[in-house]
Symmetry: C2
Subunit: 224 residues, 2 copies
DNA sequence: TGTATCGAATACATTCGTGTATTGGATACG
DNA sequence: CGTATCCAATACACGAATGTATTCGATACA
């Protein structure tokens, strides 16, 4: 028996391959957002990316796999952004606020909304992601995983942020965070639903600023 | 010139026709929930209803029309249920609560969750409805319309409900209502996402009971 | 420069859904 | 009864998307 040359796949994918995958994900991001994951044909995605279907089939096993790769990537981007956020939010907040009024809280909210510019496309894709998750336990597992990673990190940030203005949560901070993110998301939805003519990001922030401070105040108390 | 027999369509559709439409909507409800509006073929819907595609094409112009007819119907059902809710919620609540603590508020929350048993199917279809609305201004218009009708009525109910336990909202009651419904919906999503093995409705209520009272209290104050 | 390999393009067969045009059977009505 | 009407069933033609099997070209490497 001779030593058999094992078909080991290269530890690191060729640069070319990786680039193609990225371009396909970029295209998929747009097309999925515009047409929906199911409605989007593989051809539409590859065409948008400047390829033919051949490129897709030699890089992904299925549309599902492409979708999850995309979700994974985008979630990573947002996790990273959150990490950077630490450096952005706190230096300025640290200047202690005088009165613990609603304005101080509104300021926090505003920072966080700026930190997560929930670009239209991601918001739509994520919304579909959740809908798909409601239908399929497998999808749900991934959805929950992503959401948990984000919210866990965000919870630490938020806890610290309210602390710097002299407040603390009256309920579990992860709970509180999930309430906040849910409402922030809703604010973004409302902005998108308002139509394509409005400045979505600005409106989303305005919506959030109108709703969230009251809630945040309701969920916190002055630290003794 | 003789009087021409005008081809006027019967003011009231034939009973047979109406029945077929209802059965198609019933089937569509299930199939849309299970597979998604786009993934669901017309054939799948008609087959589930015990028809062939001929029945569909002689009753609806498109899948979209069927979807909107379904949404209209289901929204009506839920509006009616809300109306009845008045008689269900208040008689018992009216017995004034002694202490304005979180328990009294939790009781209100529980009543409202029972009032809107957001059955799994409707919850999923509504979630997809919203996702579709994010993509299309036409769909958005309908979505907002439905949502507004529900929330407006609900706001009146809620305002009265918190009043009966000696509270009043510190922000606009419609605003507050939308916060509550958003979080209640989230509680239901979480329950569905938990998997098919759990009692969705019970878990949804438990989730809501854990989250909503704190928020509701945060948005109200004792009436002077 | 020649050759091997990798990855995208292409060609093809097949499946699936759609919509229309027509038929057939039931019900209402004279 | 017989006939007209209505509505769902059926048959058919078409287009769209899929996945595979193969080819072609570029890059890497001897």
């Amino acid at each position: 028996m001779t030593t058999q040359p094992v078909d080991v796949e290269p530890a690191v994918e060729s640069a070319r391959r990786q680039k193609t995958r990225e371009r396909l994900m970029d295209a998929a991001f747009d097309v999925f957002a515009e047409q929906g994951v199911h409605a989007a044909s593989i051809e539409a995605v590859t065409e948008r990316a400047g390829f033919t279907r051949g490129a897709f089939y030699s890089n992904f096993a299925s549309k599902e796999e492409l979708f999850f790769a995309l979700a994974e990537r985008e979630n990573g981007v947002r996790l990273d952004r959150l990490q950077e956020g630490i450096d952005i939010i706190f230096p300025t907040l640290a200047t202690p606020v005088e009165s613990l009024d609603i304005e101080a809280v509104a300021e926090i909210v505003d920072r966080f909304m700026l930190l997560q510019p929930n670009d239209r496309h991601w918001c739509i894709v994520e919304s579909e992601f959740r809908t798909l998750a409601l239908r399929s336990p497998e999808v749900a597992a991934r959805y929950i995983d992503y959401e948990t990673r984000i919210d866990t990190r965000l919870a630490r940030l938020l806890e610290e942020a309210v602390g710097t203005v002299g407040l603390r949560f009256t309920i579990d901070s992860l709970q509180a965070t999930r309430i906040i993110t849910t409402l922030a998301q809703q604010a973004t939805y409302d902005a998108i639903l308002a139509g394509p003519d409005v400045a979505t990001d600005d409106l989303a922030r305005a919506n959030a600023r109108r709703v969230l401070p009251a809630v945040l105040l309701g969920l916190t108390e002055p630290v003794a």
